[in-house]
């Protein structure tokens, strides 16, 4: 028996209902062992914006005081487990201006668990997840990320598989038996119980020793004192012709557009339709995305009239936001190889066939 909080980190709007169902079921399940609890929907994420990282929490407690301490917060502190419902969140998340990109496991304590729904291997995820000064647990629930919209919900099993995985990782906070009792009460109980147990069985757990992982470059932001802030509610705007430095948008995306400049006809559609004005006109007349500003909405790939010209590629195929147009210009043959490689090896969605190719 123990208390603690569970942090569900997810893609705003697309996974809102999924995250909400998970935290609610966790608290209700914990009632079967006499615990009390509540949920927190991180207030500053509301109203949610498409894809922008958001959080909901289940707070599970054994006493009113334990509950009250955490429920008076936006983000509880006693995090036992963080679940990332989209593995590209492993690259970190920037939810608002001024705070920079935060590591996915921010707030995790020694021995705590990070659960990621992913089709990738542990080594791949650790290319992106920063190292910590203590040992922690990385768990992978094999599977595709589940995306629904705001008004629809895919009952595709992810909800229950994640719950099962959580029970495996922190049984002292909420166990499989309590979850079975709770899920067994609901509609489609048999199918949901199957998924729950499947998640419990299939989750792959390993420890990550101190110091293993990507370099940790995160620095908590230092906010100014009231005497240092500009008076009368003024903040700098983006410079003319420039971009807002205080909020880049790229941790919003699960996929990024990659362009085959060899077949691009310079028709300008992508430039016109991109809602975030991501494309810069090159001296040669091409439209080159500034990846730091791209939220990965995929509209450019949808409107591009040329088959397989703009393809959306799994974000985890890239380590950084490097300028691909410059690479194409420098060495077209090498770029051709790179682009073909993406089509063959990576998870790609393309306008031409609406196909989805998995490696």
């Amino acid at each position: 028996m123990a208390s603690g909080s569970v942090d569900i980190t997810y893609r705003g709007v697309f996974q809102k209902i999924l995250a909400g169902n998970i935290v609610k079921t966790l608290v209700k399940a914990s009632r079967h062992s006499g615990k009390i609890g509540g949920t927190i929907s991180r207030y500053s994420d509301s109203p949610e914006r498409n894809g922008i990282p958001a959080k909901q929490f289940a707070v599970i407690a054994e006493s009113q005081d334990e509950l009250h301490v955490e429920m008076a917060k936006y983000e509880p502190d006693n995090i036992r487990l963080i679940a990332a419902l989209d593995d590209t969140l492993a690259k970190g998340h920037e939810s608002w201006a001024w705070y920079g990109i935060r590591p996915i496991h921010l707030g995790l304590r020694e021995g705590g668990a990070l659960l990621v729904v992913s089709e990738h291997e542990r080594a791949k995820l650790l290319e992106f997840i920063p190292r910590l000064p203590f040992e922690w647990r990385l768990a992978i629930l094999p599977g595709e990320k589940s995306f629904s919209g705001l008004w629809v919900y895919h009952d595709d099993g992810t909800e229950f598989r994640v719950l099962g995985a959580i029970a495996r990782l922190i049984p002292e906070v909420v166990g499989l038996e309590e979850l079975e009792k709770e899920v067994g009460k609901g509609p489609k109980a048999e199918q949901h119980l199957d998924w729950l147990r499947q998640g419990y069985r299939e989750v792959q757990v390993g420890t990550v020793p101190a110091g293993v992982g990507a370099p940790n470059t995160y620095e908590p932001v230092k906010l100014p004192e009231w005497t240092e802030m500009a008076e009368a509610i003024i903040v700098p705007a983006a410079p003319r012709g420039g971009r807002q430095e205080a909020f880049k948008k790229f941790t919003t995306r699960s996929e990024r557009p990659v362009i085959d400049f060899d077949v691009c006809t310079q028709c300008k559609q992508c430039f016109v339709e991109c809602p975030d004005s991501v494309f810069e006109l090159t001296p040669e007349g091409y439209y080159n995305p500034e990846y730091e500003a791209c939220c990965g909405c995929g509209i450019c790939a949808e409107v591009c009239p040329v088959d397989d010209c703009i393809v959306m590629v799994d974000e985890l195929a890239f380590a950084d936001n490097r300028d691909l147009y410059e690479e194409w210009k420098a060495d077209r043959a090498a770029y051709r190889q790179f682009f073909q490689g993406l089509l063959e090896r990576e998870r790609v969605t393309a306008r031409s066939s609406r196909r989805k190719v998995s490696a």
Partner: protein
């Protein structure tokens, strides 16, 4: 609020719901006739909860989405005059935009029940909790209640209808709920069945004041100076009578639900033998109660008093509970620039209420949690330490202390 003992006569079942969903449940149980809405965070989550219940056939009410906050309050004012039980609400500057309709509702003595999802006033475009929005009507004849937990959100909504609609009162009632901590967090709430509410809440009946073709009356004519002061006195008398009606209704609600505080107007937490008492409204109760427990373990005699009803203000209770204490610290989640001692609205009311006491305690003001800033248990330790110092004369008592602001505070 204790939520354990349940009245044997009435079934209640537990749900995990947000404070606004708890209000929506109460609206269903109270069989509200007309609801007007205009979306603004954080109040608006009650709109979607009610809309869902109507769509699911669980509730039968006219839900009117207005084109502005002002119209929204006008709609329910008129509906209320015709004898409909109504619900409305807003937050922050939305509440301010409706202000003209809000003040006339009180003047016309129409028992509208409103939810204020407390939100900082613009600018900046913030949506964290501050109590200045609801406090703007503190002089206008609205009954004002501050909720602290999900269960209380449901119970207080039922209470509000009974008190507001009582013929001895007939005043509108606004329920304040802190943005985020109540509106966007789910709490465990016992939801009663309809039979409990039917036993508690009589039908709304305006009798001779009902605006109806069978009862020809004209509402809100123009008055000259020969008439106005008497209507003001009528409202004053109604607000004075509200105290007794609240006490009566609260005792009944407690009896039926099997839960509630000993006192209808304030919640007291380990106050009995306390040397120092902290005062606050809303969800700040959570960290303060935890801090009180921890300070008690260190042998400090500290207690907490939560003001539930701000209008009518609990003068008598404060005098009875606070006389002779070594110090009283008022935590305001609001500001009143340039006021006495630069304190908040609650501080100044409390200090004024205690003035007549022979053995009045020093009252120290604290401004905390503005714009939704978290008030942590450590913040409360800091408040308690400053209270002790100030009460002993070791720290300036002339000016309210800001807690949790970045930068110089004294």
């Amino acid at each position: 609020m204790a939520m354990t003992e349940v009245s044997r006569r009435f079934a209640q079942h537990e749900e995990l719901i947000t404070g606004t969903e708890a209000v929506a449940q109460a609206l269903r149980l109270a069989d509200v006739d007309v609801m007007a809405g205009y979306p603004i965070r954080p109040y608006d989550s009650v709109m979607s909860s009610v809309a869902k219940m109507i769509a699911n056939g669980q509730m039968d009410a006219d839900f009117i989405v207005a084109e502005s906050e002002h119209s929204q309050f006008e709609i329910v004012k008129h509906a209320s005059a015709t004898g409909a039980r109504v619900f409305v609400g807003s937050s922050g500057v939305g509440w301010m935009y409706a202000m003209e309709a809000i003040v006339v509702t009180a003047a016309l003595r129409l028992p509208v029940v409103a939810l204020v999802g407390n939100r900082a006033l613009d600018d900046p475009g913030a949506f964290g909790v501050e109590h200045n929005d609801a406090l703007m009507v503190r002089d206008s004849g609205w009954l004002l209640y501050w909720v602290a937990e999900g269960q209380e959100a449901l119970d207080a909504t039922l209470l509000a209808y009974r008190v507001a609609e009582d013929a001895r009162v007939s005043l509108p009632c606004a329920l304040s709920m802190d943005g985020a901590f109540l509106t966007h967090s789910q709490h465990l709430v016992l939801v009663p069945e309809k039979d409990l509410v039917e036993a508690f809440l009589p039908p709304y009946d305006l009798k001779k004041r009902r605006f109806h073709p069978d009862n020809p009356i004209s509402i809100a004519p123009q008055y000259n100076e020969d008439w106005v002061m008497e209507t003001r006195k009528q409202s004053d008398a109604a607000m004075r009578r509200a105290r007794g009606v609240i006490a009566e209704a609260y005792a009944e609600l407690k009896r039926l639900t099997g839960r509630g505080d000993p006192d209808p107007f304030v919640e007291t937490y380990r106050v009995e033998d306390a040397d120092y008492v902290l005062i606050g409204m809303g969800t700040v109760a959570m960290p303060i109660k935890v801090a009180v427990d921890q300070l008690r373990e260190e042998g400090k005699r500290v207690g907490f008093l939560r003001i539930k009803w701000f209008r009518p203000f609990p003068d008598e209770e404060l005098r009875r509970l606070l006389h002779g204490r070594k110090g009283v610290g008022v935590v305001d989640r609001d500001y009143s620039y340039g006021s006495t001692r630069h304190g908040g609205a609650v501080y100044n009311e409390v200090r004024s209420a205690l003035y007549d006491l022979e053995d009045r305690p020093p009252v120290i003001g604290f401004i905390a949690g503005l714009g939704g800033r978290e008030v942590s248990v450590d913040d409360v330790f800091q408040i308690e330490a400053k209270l002790e110092q100030a009460a002993a004369g070791d720290l300036g008592a002339e000016s309210a202390h800001w807690i949790g602001v970045r930068g110089p505070v004294e």
